[in-house]
Amino acid sequence: MSERKISCVHCLTPILEKEALWYEINGDREPYCCQGCFAIRKAIKEANLEEFYIKRRDWVPGQPEFKKVEPQLFESCIREINRDEKELKIGISGIRCAACIWLLERFLRKKRGIRGISINFATHRATIRYNPQEITLEEILESITILGYLPLPGITSDLERILESEAKDLLIRFGTASFFSMQLMLYTVSLYAGYFQGIEASLRKLFEYLAWGLSTPVMFYSAQPFWKNFFKSMLSRHLSMDVLVIMGSFSAYTYSVVAIFMGKEVYFDTSAMIITFILLGRYLEKKMQLKASSVLRILLSYQPKYATKITSSGEILSLVESLKSGDLVVIKPGEKIPVDGTIVEGISEVDESLLTGEPMPVTRREGDKVYAGCMNINGKIIIKVQDVKETLLSKIVQTVLKALEEKPRLQGIADRVIRVFVPLVVLIACITFIYGYIQENLTEGLLRAVSVLVIACPCALGLALPLAFLIATQKAYQLGLLIRDGTLIERVNSINIIAFDKTGTLTKGEPQVKEYHIYEEPVNIVLQIALSLESCSTHPLAKAFLKLGNREEVYKVTDFKNYPGRGIEGVIDGGRYYLGNREFIEERIGKLNPQVKQMCSFYVQAGYTVVMLSDEKRVLGLFVLDDTLREEAKEVIEELKRKRLKTWILSGDEEEVVKRVARELKIDYSVSKATPIEKAEIIKEWQNRGKRIMMIGDGINDAPALAVSTASLALASGVELAMESAQGVFMKKDLRILPEFLSLAKRTLKIAKENLLWAFSYNIIAIPLAVTGKIHPVISALLMATSSILVVINSLRLAR
C-alpha cells in the first residue's frame, strides 16, 4: 500500500496521504492534516483573504495553535479611551511570517466594531481599538484563535519594559543632543572661519553666547544619565567611563564660559560632541539588549503558559500562575507538564531529560510525582497540583537567581583603560598647572591645566566598544547565536575550559537504534514488522525504528494497543506481535531463552535501553537503543582542542553512558550523575581555583551551572530557565556555531582594542599640545573628527 507524503494546504505540515483529510472548498478537493486547519482555511476564504497563501513565502511549516482562551485573563489588558472606545494590548503567539500579520490585521479590521489594529513586526504585540457596544472582548479573542493564533495576556516581561523605556529615554536625549549640536556647529564653524579670516569682535561675542546657549541643554539635560553615574561613581570611589565623560565635557563647558569673559577660545563644540557621540553608543547598546530580549520572548512564547484545569463546569484553560494547590490539571499526550504535581489518574511515560539529563522516558503512574517542564508522551494523565511555591523548579530558580546576582561584574577592557587613564590625566593636569604657574602666572597655569582635562575625553571613546560589539552581535545573529549579554564577547575570550551538558547538547536527545540482533529469518521481514508496529505509535522511541526498513511499505496493523511505559502490540497478517521492554515480553511469552537473556543483561548493564520484538511464542529480535551523538559533535570538539581549550562533560546521566560519550569524543574530563546544584558547584570550585569555564547546556538541570560560569550558552530547547540563565542562545541546534563564534569573538576583541587605540591616539597628540598651551579648538575638533572616523571604519571591517 502506498504511503506517499503530501502536505496540508493550510499549515504545510507533511502528512501521509492515507491519513490526510480531504475537504472541498470552491470546487477543489484539498488535503488537510486536521479539522482545525480546514476551519482556518474556511475562515480565511469566507473573509476573502485567500491572498494570504500567495503572500506567505517565509512560512515555517507547522501546526497552528488550537486553543481556546478565557476572556477573564485579558481584562487587565484593556484600557478605556472613552465611552465607546477601548484599547486592548496583547501578545500573539504563533506568528511565523509577515503574511501572518497581514492576515490578522485584515481579518480583524473586517469585523464590526474594530476601530483599528496594529501588530508590531518585531515584538508580535498587538494594539486593538474597538467599540465595546459593537464587539465584545470574547469575540475579538475568538477571531484570533479561529485563525490558529494564540492571544497571550501580559506578554511583556518586566525586564523588557524597563529596557524599552530606557531605550526611548536615551533616544530622546540623543536626538536632543544631536539637534542642538548641529545648531551649535553653525556658530562654531563661523568662529573657526573667523579665526582664520578675522571676525568682527561684536559678532564673535554674539556667536559665543549663542554657542553657550545651545550647548547648555546638552550639558544639563542630555548628559543627565552620565551625571547620575558620575555622582554614584564618586560616592563609591570607583572610576567609570562616565567619570571621564563628565570630567571632559563639563570642564570644556566651564572653561568656555570663563573663556567668553576672558576673550579666549571657546570649546563648547567639544563638550556637546562628546555627549552626543557617547549617547549614540549607549543607545546602540540598549537597542541590542532590547532586541535580544524580544527575540528570546518570541522564542519562548511558543511554550504553553496555560494549563487545562478541571472545574465543576468542565475543562477550562487557565493561566499557570493562577493555579492553586489541590487543583486538578489534565495533561494530554504530547503536552508539556505545566506544574509540579502528583498523578491521581492515568499512566504515561514522561520525558524528564531536561530535568535529569536521562534521555530515555520514565514511566509515571498514579501516586508518582511529575515535574513542571517535562514532556508527557503517551498517556492522558490527571495531576493534583502541589504546593505551588515549593516546587523542584522553584528551588532551581532560586539557585539561579542567587548565582546571577553574585556573578562577578566583568572587568572589561574599557574599565581597565579608564582606571589607568583617568588618574594619569589628573596627574598630567596637576603637573601642567605647576609648570604653567612657574613659567607664566596663576591664571595661565590654571587655564592650561583645565585645557588638559578638556581634551582628555575623546568622542570616539563612546563608539569604540559599542560599535564593534554591535556589529559582532549582528554577525553572531546571522550565525544563529543570539547574544543576550553584551559582555559575552569579552568573556569568551578569557575562557580556558568548555563544559558541555550531555543529553540534548552533545547528543541529539532522541534515541536511535544502535544495534539489533534478529533471531528469525528473513531479517528484513522482522525489521519491517517492528517498523510497522512502531509507525502506529507516537512514542519518541518509535521514531528510532522508522529508519530500519522501508517506510513506504508498512504492513497493515490491526487491533493496535499501547501500554504506556511497557510496550505495544498489534496484529499483522493474522499474527499477533509484541514490542516492548523485557518485563512486557516476559509477561506475554513466559521465560526468555538464555541467549537472549544474557544479551539483554549485557546491554542493560552497559547503559543502553533494550527493546524486544516477539510473536506469541518466541523473541524475534532484540534492539539496542541509544541516544546518538550530534553529527558535528566530534568535529567541533576537535576544533576546540585546536584552539587549546579543555573540554568537559557535566551530566546527570549514568556513569557508563557518560564515560562512553567522553571516550568517543575524546573529552578530557567527565562528571556523571550530577544534580543541577552539583553541576554548579563543580564549576564554582574550579573557578575559585582560577579556571575560567564556559558552560553549554539546554535543560533546566543546567540552569544553575549556566548562571555561575564565566560565560554560558544555551541551546534553544524551549526551556525558559536555561535560556534566561545563559548569556547567549543558539537559535539553531548546531554546535558548529560555537567555534565560529569563538573566532568572531576573538576578532571583535582585537578590533575593539584597536578602536580604543585610535580613540586615544587623539590624546597622544592633543595632550602634549595642551600642556604647552598651544592647543586651539580648531585642532582639537579636527583631531576628534579624525579619530572618530577611524574608529567607525575600523569597526566596519568586522562586518565583512
Binding site: E51, A98, I101, W102, R109, S118, N120, F121, A122, T123, K168, L171, I172, G175, T176, F179, F180, M182, Q183, L186, L203, L210
Partner: protein, 51 residues
C-alpha cells in the same frame, strides 16, 4: 547686519521646530516598530483607505 540677526533667529526657530517634531514623533510611538514599514509599504490593496 539686521539681516544676519534675522537669519539667526530663523535658523534657530527651524532647528527647534524640527526638534519638537522629533520629540512628538517619539512620544506618539512612530519609532516603536522599525520592522513593520518595510513590509507594509508593499501592501497595495488598502480597501479600508479607499472606501
Amino acid at each position: 547686519m539686521w539681516s544676519l540677526y534675522f537669519l539667526i533667529i530663523i535658523s534657530i526657530a527651524m532647528g527647534i521646530g524640527a526638534w519638537l517634531w522629533f520629540l512628538w514623533s517619539i512620544k506618539s510611538g512612530q519609532m516603536d516598530d522599525p520592522e513593520g514599514p518595510k513590509y507594509r509599504m508593499l501592501e497595495d490593496d488598502d480597501e479600508e483607505n479607499s472606501s
